[in-house]
């Protein structure tokens, strides 16, 4: 009997596919259920945001930064604000910094909730997704009250934030945090320690610490590999040195260090840490103005700066070059999802098709952040 002739199958996953978060595309070479390789094809959501910055000026670019990463737009706001302030030598009022941190940490909660929720949905459990989104909606309600928008916030300004906290908002936020911590426990009881769920995640897409550093992974993905690197702690910015919080790292409790389960659980633990920061920030909130005086035709002196912000998807770098005019000469954004996408091709070898979905979800890539 002659051996059966088999062929590789080329599968096209995306750009319209229910599990690719946004418009991603993978070209998969598969042998049955096992993938030989999945080649990511990025660029479907490229909108020249960096180029737009050169045309709309410093103040005008703020709403565009929301679109760099619409799931956690507060951080992109903050990154752009900090870069402009560094160039122009502007001091943000202390209350303004607190408002920024509060908004950003709430946004981190929302982003991580979406991430862990969609991850559970990609594994096939539908209920955690709606529960996570329900919590996210409440955060969105809070943020809506703060700045009037639920997704693309445009809350921050160069020199501070646009509006102070509305009256009574602080109490609502604290009440929400009291509600959130038990919900996190309930979420863990519902899905995080579910046997099937853990089995699906452990030993899938293992990233070694060396690989993570070589591929420039950042944020929760990096910390899941056991490397304690958080910009908020290691290169402190804003008012983060005021707060006590831990940086959760992956420990490989269930399987290998740096597998999908580690990345998942690091996000869940970061939510608890974020709520800790939020409590402290809301309690320590100083009085004073929230917005520094900045000229309408803001013209920073000639120079360049590099700003690093710890966004929900990790170290977000803003490189801005000013030529002394009202328009930046060059803006570059460095995002975590792009680096993570670079690693998928290597990680996908030998995985199953179902595991690719797990892998993408665990890396928490957001399509606009890859392409900008």
């Amino acid at each position: 009997m002659s051996t059966l002739r088999t062929e590789e199958m080329t599968l096209n996953m995306g750009p319209q596919h229910p599990s690719t978060h946004g418009v991603l595309r993978f070209v998969i070479r598969a042998d049955g259920e096992v993938m030989r390789e999945a080649v990511p094809d990025v660029g479907y959501l490229h909108r020249s945001i960096e180029k737009i910055a050169e045309k709309v000026g410093y103040h005008g670019f703020m709403p565009y930064t929301d679109r760099v990463d619409y799931v956690c737009a507060m951080f992109t706001n903050q990154g752009w604000g900090m870069a402009s302030e560094r160039l122009g030598g502007i001091e943000v009022p202390r209350r303004g910094e607190y408002c920024r941190v509060i908004a950003a940490e709430f946004n981190r909660l929302a982003s991580h909730l979406l991430s862990v929720g969609t991850m559970a949905m990609d594994i096939g459990a539908m209920t955690p997704f709606t529960h996570a989104l329900r919590e996210r909606e409440m955060i969105n309600d809070l943020i809506e009250e703060l700045c009037g928008a639920r997704l693309t916030f445009n809350y921050m300004r160069i020199g501070g934030v646009a509006w102070d906290l509305p009256p009574g908002w602080r109490e609502k936020a604290l009440a929400y945090l009291d509600h959130f911590n038990p919900i996190l426990e309930e979420y863990n009881a519902l899905i995080s320690y579910n046997k099937i769920y853990v089995e699906r995640l452990v030993n899938v897409g293992v990233i070694t610490p060396d690989e993570a550093i070589n591929y420039n992974l950042v944020g929760p993905n990096l910390r899941a590999c056991g490397i304690k690197w958080d910009i908020r702690k290691d290169i402190p910015y804003s008012v983060y040195p005021d707060f006590e919080f831990d940086v959760p790292v992956g420990k490989g409790q269930w399987g290998t260090l740096g597998d999908s389960m580690d990345r998942y659980i690091v996000r869940v633990r970061e939510m608890a840490e974020s709520s800790k920061i939020l409590r402290q920030a809301l309690h320590q909130l100083p009085a004073g103005p929230v917005l520094a005086k900045v000229a309408r035709n803001f013209k920073p002196p000639r120079g360049e700066c590099q700003i690093r912000v710890e966004s929900a998807r990790g170290d977000m770098g803003w490189y801005v070059v000013s030529d002394g005019t009202g328009y930046p000469w060059r803006v570059h954004v460095r995002t975590g999802s792009f680096a993570a996408m670079g690693l998928t091709q290597k990680l996908s070898r030998g995985l199953m098709i179902a595991d690719l979905v797990t892998l993408i979800a665990s890396l928490d890539v957001i399509a606009p952040e890859i392409d900008r």
């Binding site: 199958m9 599968l11 096209n12 596919h17 229910p18 599990s19 259920e33 559970a120 949905m121 990609d122 594994i123 096939g124 459990a125 539908m126 209920t127 709606t130 529960h131 329900r134 409440m138 309600d141 809070l142 009250e145 609502k172 936020a173 009440a175 929400y176 509600h179 038990p182 919900i183 309930e186 009881a189 519902l190 899905i191 579910n194 099937i196 769920y197 089995e199 699906r200 199953m352 098709i353 179902a354 595991d355 979905v357």
Partner: protein, 396 residues
């Protein structure tokens, strides 16, 4: 059936001296159509509505509540929508097979209704190989699904079809083996015979007859979930991986057929479990009127089946999906050996206590009550604990 046909011939409804075969065929077709269209399809439809409402409640959503009271008629609206939509056949698809596939799946869903024991007399055909017929025709699904996956000429459909075939064929084995303990104990394959061998009270159900049947019931339930492509085994149509699996290219009525069959299968799974292990329609004798008794039995049967259906909806709302290799591991490394051991164990048990062991029945029943009580206690604990927070609106 025969008396009915002879009465019809005698009454002259079909003219003078009609051929017996023709009348029988007409009557059987009409009755069959009435039963299938009037019973099977509404059941499938109602189960879709129930599932969506239950699932929505689990997910803290509302679910369909616009069409009819509590959205009860949603399934009708969806069915009509399915009929009205364009029946699209991809240009590259293998058209005859593509068109045929949904009918095969539908056939596999409709045929088991002919041996469905609703009550002591409400059964279309009490075949002496009823349970075998039931499992045999439900396995027809795999042909339709594979056909759909192959003929769609779509790689995602193909993977879905192949997954489904592998899954259904594998899980047929533990499911079939789990039926044998009951057959060994009753010595009959007839659905009614199996139900009559059980009593109306729980300690006389086969679920609690001995430890082996208890394990067999659980394996059968899980295997039936896998055969019906239900969570946690919904790999063939895993929407986050395979778009919609074998049904990706289907639209309109054909798509509706697939999903009607899927939800109808839920009812079939429940009926199988209830018949084999949960005492079927058995109800204490309360009236001498056969009509009253039949109605009571019908209600008993349906309540039991819906309880099992509800359980599988709950499971769907709770669990994530397993991976294909884990699915196969579970089947071949655990379920098949366990169900073999189960069968041998039951044989030994029957050899030792041919009439069953009443003490064991009570003991198992007590253990079952304890397990259920603990489960309910835990559910109540979580429900109470989360209730206050679930209805918390910080901004309202």
């Amino acid at each position: 059936m025969q008396t009915l046909i002879q009465n019809l011939i005698a009454s002259g409804t079909f003219g003078r001296n009609p051929p017996y075969g023709l009348v029988a065929a007409i009557v059987e077709f009409v009755l069959g159509a009435v039963v299938f269209l009037g019973v099977a399809l509404p059941f499938a439809g109602i189960v879709t509505w129930l599932e969506r409402r239950v699932w929505a409640r689990i997910q803290s959503r509302v679910g369909p509540n616009r069409v009819g009271p509590q959205g009860f008629l949603q399934w009708l609206a969806d069915g009509i929508k399915g009929i009205c939509k364009e029946d699209l056949i991809p240009a590259e698809a293998d058209a005859p097979l593509f068109k045929l596939a949904p009918y095969l799946v539908m056939l596999a869903f409709i045929l088991p209704w002919s041996v469905m024991p609703f009550s002591s007399s409400l059964i279309l055909a009490d075949l002496n190989v009823g349970i075998l017929f039931f499992t045999a025709v439900t396995a027809l699904t795999v042909v339709g699904v594979l056909m759909a996956g192959w003929s769609s000429n779509d790689k995602w459909s193909l993977i879905g079809g192949i997954r489904s075939a592998a899954q259904i064929v594998s899980y047929e084995i533990p499911a079939g083996l789990s039926i044998f303990p009951v057959v060994l104990m009753t010595g009959t394959l007839s659905m009614q015979g199996i139900i009559r061998a059980q009593g109306w009270s729980p300690q006389h159900w086969f679920l609690f007859a001995n430890p082996f049947t208890f394990v067999a019931a659980n394996i059968l339930f899980i295997s039936a979930l896998a055969e019906g492509n239900r969570t946690p085994f919904d790999l063939p149509e895993a929407e986050s991986e395979l778009v919609a699996g074998f049904a990706t290219e289907y639209s309109g009525m054909r798509y509706t057929f697939f999903f009607m069959a899927e939800w109808g299968n839920l009812f079939l799974v429940g009926a199988l479990i209830v018949t084999l292990f949960l005492g079927g329609w058995r109800f204490p004798h309360m009236s001498n009127s056969p009509v009253v008794m039949n109605i009571l039995e019908l209600i008993t049967f349906n309540v039991k089946v819906l309880a099992v259906v509800f359980l599988s909806m709950w499971i769907r709302g709770t669990l994530p999906r397993v991976r294909i290799d884990q699915l196969m591991t579970l089947c071949w490394k655990y379920f098949v050996p366990i169900s073999f051991a189960d069968m041998i164990g039951t044989a030994v048990w029957v050899a030792i206590w041919p009439d069953g062991n009443a003490f064991m029945g009570y003991l198992m029943f007590a253990a079952g009550v304890v397990i259920i009580a603990m489960f309910i206690r835990r559910v109540v604990f979580y429900a109470r604990r989360s209730k206050m927070e679930l209805y918390f609106h910080p901004t309202i």
